[in-house]
């Protein structure tokens, strides 16, 4: 398997054994040696050369090829979350770079295998996507390439409307069947007769009745609970032909497969950098290669002032965690201490650093990672700041260096991969089969032009008018599309909107 040269396969074996000796736990990794054009091609398909045909990949390819040709960018490494793991090495890389990339890849592979957020992803995605590809090709033959492509365009336009947490939620699908029969019976708490009016007082019964009525009202709602997985809702309820359903289901599956990579970008890259740097500097790098290695490595970690480089951020945070747990800078005692001088000198030889970072890579995602481990010292050492736009000059300006603000800003940007959170609240709005979505507005407005176009795409799937409740410039807005034209009306936040946020009381 793979097509490595003898020299490179020897290196691979060496790297693999080293990684294993440090406790990295990887799938088998198959390295493919490719030239830059092949690499650009594979990268255009998101790493899967067998994916379904779509012009978007062609566009991606054009951009990658050009930016490679002009020397603007070069893809070093591409690794696929799959069992076995596939990774691509660029033929023109120097041996030093190949070493670095291999070590980096083993870091990623360990992360894929062990991070909890990846636990629900299919590890046979190579095959799954190849199947998707052949399905789509078959549909194109049968229903016409244009029509199928058109449908794929529409689905792509909404494929960020998924709930990345849903693979971890067990929905009780049997609930409906169980409660469907019989009128509402208020269940009393079992008690002896003489105790009954104490244990089940009228006030309790009344509140219990209220609760049941509410539950019942909920049952009548459609969907029963506001649904973040809009794709699923459409899959179950939109009037689609079977090939359309199949394509929607496939693209949804792909969206869920890629979601954890978006959720753990900083951690994943940080982890891979941590390990390539450890393996390279401790073992793999010859003295003659040091300068070349440093050059490549620093290229990876370079950060521009106005931006966060996930590689840099991730690895620094992992190293910081390791150091803190090596020196006992954790726990309630440390947290309670707010004397910076004491905190700085805090040292107990706990030496749990390595163990701790392995734990962290197992259970955290970017949001929890940042939230838990960015400390005032870390933000300070990394010279992190929040910037904003100066309204008079239009320039970006440093606003604050307070680590809480920094953290807040980072978390906001990372929440839902920087996408708006949108839920289906009503699939039978106005009792006319219209679809009502609510944007969980948290400070940032939607891009309205795009929103209208996206709404139109949703409308094409749903067949009936669709609406989305959002805010624009601080005021409530309802965007609608009935298939012919887009409209926007000012509204006051509705009970449906409140419902989406889980605050509402239901009309009984």
């Amino acid at each position: 398997m793979g097509n490595l040269t003898p020299e490179l396969s020897e290196l691979r074996d060496e790297t693999r054994e080293l990684a294993r000796s440090y406790g990295l736990d990887c799938y088998e990794v198959i390295f493919e040696l490719v030239d830059h054009d092949e690499l650009n091609m594979v990268a255009s398909y998101g790493g899967f050369p067998t994916r379904y045909p779509h012009w978007r990949f062609g566009m991606e390819y054009e951009q990658l090829s050009k930016s490679y040709a002009w020397g603007l960018s070069k893809i070093y490494e591409l690794v696929i979350n799959n069992d076995p793991c596939y990774a691509y090495l660029m033929r023109s890389n120097s041996v030093t770079e190949q070493k670095l990339v291999m070590a980096h890849v083993y870091g990623h592979c360990d992360f894929f295998k062990n991070n909890a957020w990846f636990s629900k992803t299919s590890r046979k995605m190579m095959d799954v996507l190849a199947n998707h590809g052949s399905h789509v090709r078959r549909y194109m033959d049968r229903y016409g390439a244009e029509q199928v492509e058109d449908f794929i365009d529409v689905v792509h336009s909404i494929d960020n409307l998924i709930d990345p947490y849903s693979p971890f939620i067990r929905r009780d699908d049997g609930a409906r069947a169980a409660t469907e029969d019989g009128p509402t019976v208020i269940k009393k708490i079992a008690a002896k007769d003489y105790m009954d009016r104490f244990i089940n007082p009228p006030s309790f019964l009344a509140s219990e009745k209220q609760r049941l009525l509410k539950e019942q009202a909920q049952q009548l709602r459609f969907p029963q609970r506001p649904a973040r997985d809009v794709l699923k809702f459409l899959l179950d309820n939109a009037p689609l032909q079977s090939w359309q359903q199949d394509i929607l289901a496939m693209l949804r599956e792909e969206a869920y497969y890629f979601a954890p990579q978006g959720m753990t970008k900083i951690m994943n890259e940080g982890w891979a950098v941590y390990w390539h740097s450890k393996l390279m500097t401790r073992h793999l790098c010859d003295a003659s290669e040091v300068v070349h290695y440093c050059d490549t490595h620093s290229g990876t970690l370079a950060s521009r002032p106005g931006q966060i480089n996930p590689y840099k951020m991730g690895v620094e945070l992992f190293r910081d965690i390791e150091e803190r747990w090596d020196h006992g800078r954790f726990g309630p005692e440390f947290q309670a201490c707010d004397d910076p001088e004491v905190r700085r000198k805090w040292s107990q030889k706990t030496m749990q650093g390595r163990q701790r970072i392995f734990e962290v890579r197992r259970i955290y995602n970017d949001v929890t990672f940042i939230d838990e481990f960015v400390t005032p010292e870390f933000a300070n050492a990394q010279k992190m700041f929040v910037y904003g736009t100066n309204s008079t000059t239009g320039q970006l300006e440093i606003v604050d260096r307070d680590y809480r603000k920094v953290k807040d800003q980072l978390l906001t940007a990372l929440t839902n991969f920087g996408n708006p959170i949108i839920r289906v609240v009503d699939g039978n709005f106005r009792n006319r089969g219209e679809l009502y979505l609510v944007h969980d507005w948290a400070g940032a407005d939607l891009q309205l032009e795009h929103a209208h176009l996206t709404l139109h795409n949703l409308q094409r799937l749903w067949g009936r008018p669709v609406h989305i409740e959002t805010k624009d410039g601080g005021k409530g807005r309802l965007l609608s599309h009935d298939g012919k034209e887009a409209t926007a009306t000012d509204i006051t936040p509705s009970s449906l909107g409140a419902l989406a946020l889980g605050q509402g009381t239901l009309p009984s």
Binding site: M41, S44, Y45, P49, P53, H54, W55, R56, F57, G58, M59, E62, K66, E149, H156, S157, I158, N160, L161, S303, P305, G306, Q307, I308, K312, Q382, K383, M384, F385, V386, Y387, G388, T389, N390, T393, G394, Q395, L396, E397, I398, R401, V406, Q409, L410, A413, N419, P420, I422, H439, G443, A444, D445, L446, Q447, L448, E449, H450, A451, L453, T454
Partner: protein
């Protein structure tokens, strides 16, 4: 890899969509003039927001984030454009998709949309350079050009036909008659040169918008003619009461005041043709843009005289575009029309507004001369 790669199919499809989008929005591209300035030697970047798939996403209204680096509160984030580099507010956060399209493709699309005929070059139009490529096959030739596969196929055919082919012992021996060689096929490349002479009235009555319209039109005429001729030279003449040869930048930005004596430009044009672009070797295209006001009717007569006697015989066609301005009387076009209505070499057109550019281009280039 001889196999058609998947990505090539997707890439072709993408280019097709791009082409379709340009065609569909050509009028808009032409009238907005946004392509000018995004043009390089061979390519032009075309902004194509239509092609990006829409998604629910956040707008650009709140630009804040986290960065790393030095600096105190209130200091600008390092590494961004400084103040005075202009238009910061215009471009911020807009990542409009831009697609590179070759000018050749763009001209082709323009031609298809406007149904422009290809130009039959005049003069030494049959002069063709041979730029041979080895695409032919011949029975004789030097050993260095021996076509291995074809030779063996011939030998195989001969052996099968003569029954000497043994499939258990498939030894194929070519003999002299089987030998095939690559041969050069001459490819004919038209060698025609063209000169475009742009003349523009820069008198006080031609405002910015008028010049912009001229500029847009000149861009598209250039694009088209460059596809029709290998060698193109462009000459710019501005005139008010007197005419000057200027460079491109000046041509579009110069603003004079004062009177208009069109004949001055025509004289200069005639002189240029005589000195630099003799009709025997050049296909000459003079374009004149003005708002139609001339100094006097005597001067108009002089212009007509110049056209008749010396310019028209030496050019492929003469185009006059009259840009509407709030001052111009538009008399000049009427005068020209009165005299040259039946002459196919003279084309006049009114450009009322930006939307009129398209029809004007069609009028100018639709004759295929």
């Amino acid at each position: 890899m001889s196999k058609v790669r998947r990505i090539d199919q997707d890439h072709t499809r993408f280019r097709k969509i791009v082409r379709g989008q340009i065609k569909q929005h050509l009028k808009q591209f032409i009238s907005s003039g946004e392509l000018i300035g995004k043009q390089g030697e061979k390519y032009v970047s075309i902004p194509m927001p239509q092609i990006a798939l829409p998604k629910f996403r956040f707008g650009d209204n709140q630009k804040n984030g986290v960065g790393q680096g030095e600096g105190a509160n209130g200091e600008p984030v390092p590494g961004q454009q400084g103040p005075g580099s202009g238009a910061a507010g215009e471009t911020e956060g807009k990542h409009t998709l831009e697609v590179d399209v070759s000018l050749a493709d763009l001209a082709k699309i323009l031609g298809e949309e406007l149904e422009l005929p290809n130009i039959e070059p005049r003069g030494r139009k049959n002069l063709r350079a041979s730029a041979g490529r080895f695409t032919g096959i011949s029975r004789s030739g030097p050993q260095s050009l021996r076509h291995f596969r074809r030779t063996f196929i011939e030998a195989l055919k001969r052996q099968i036909a003569s029954g000497t082919y043994d499939k258990d012992n498939p030894i194929i021996l070519p003999v002299r008659e089987d030998m095939r060689y690559r041969s050069e096929k001459p490819r004919e490349v038209p060698q025609a040169s063209a000169a475009i002479i742009y003349m523009m009235d820069v008198s006080g009555s031609m405002g910015r918008e008028q010049k912009e319209m001229v500029r847009i039109q000149a861009f598209w005429i250039d694009t088209w003619l460059r596809q029709q001729y290998q060698n193109i030279e462009v000459c710019y003449i501005v005139h008010d009461a007197a005419a000057h040869i200027v460079d491109q930048h000046t041509f579009f930005h110069l603003r004079e005041s004062g009177g208009t004596k069109i004949s001055s430009a025509y004289e200069l044009c005639q002189q240029q043709i005589r000195d630099k672009y003799p009709a025997g070797e050049w296909n000459v295209y003079p374009f004149h843009f003005s708002d139609g006001d001339n100094w006097s009717s005597r001067d108009t007569e002089r212009c007509i005289e110049l056209l008749k006697s010396s310019i028209l015989p030496d050019v492929n066609q003469f185009c006059y575009g009259q840009v509407k301005s709030s001052y111009g009387s538009g008399q000049f076009k009427k005068d020209l029309d009165a005299v040259f209505r039946s002459d196919p070499k003279v084309i006049t057109s009114d450009i009322l507004d930006r939307d009129g550019i398209l029809t004007s281009i069609k009028a100018f280039l639709g004759g295929g001369r």
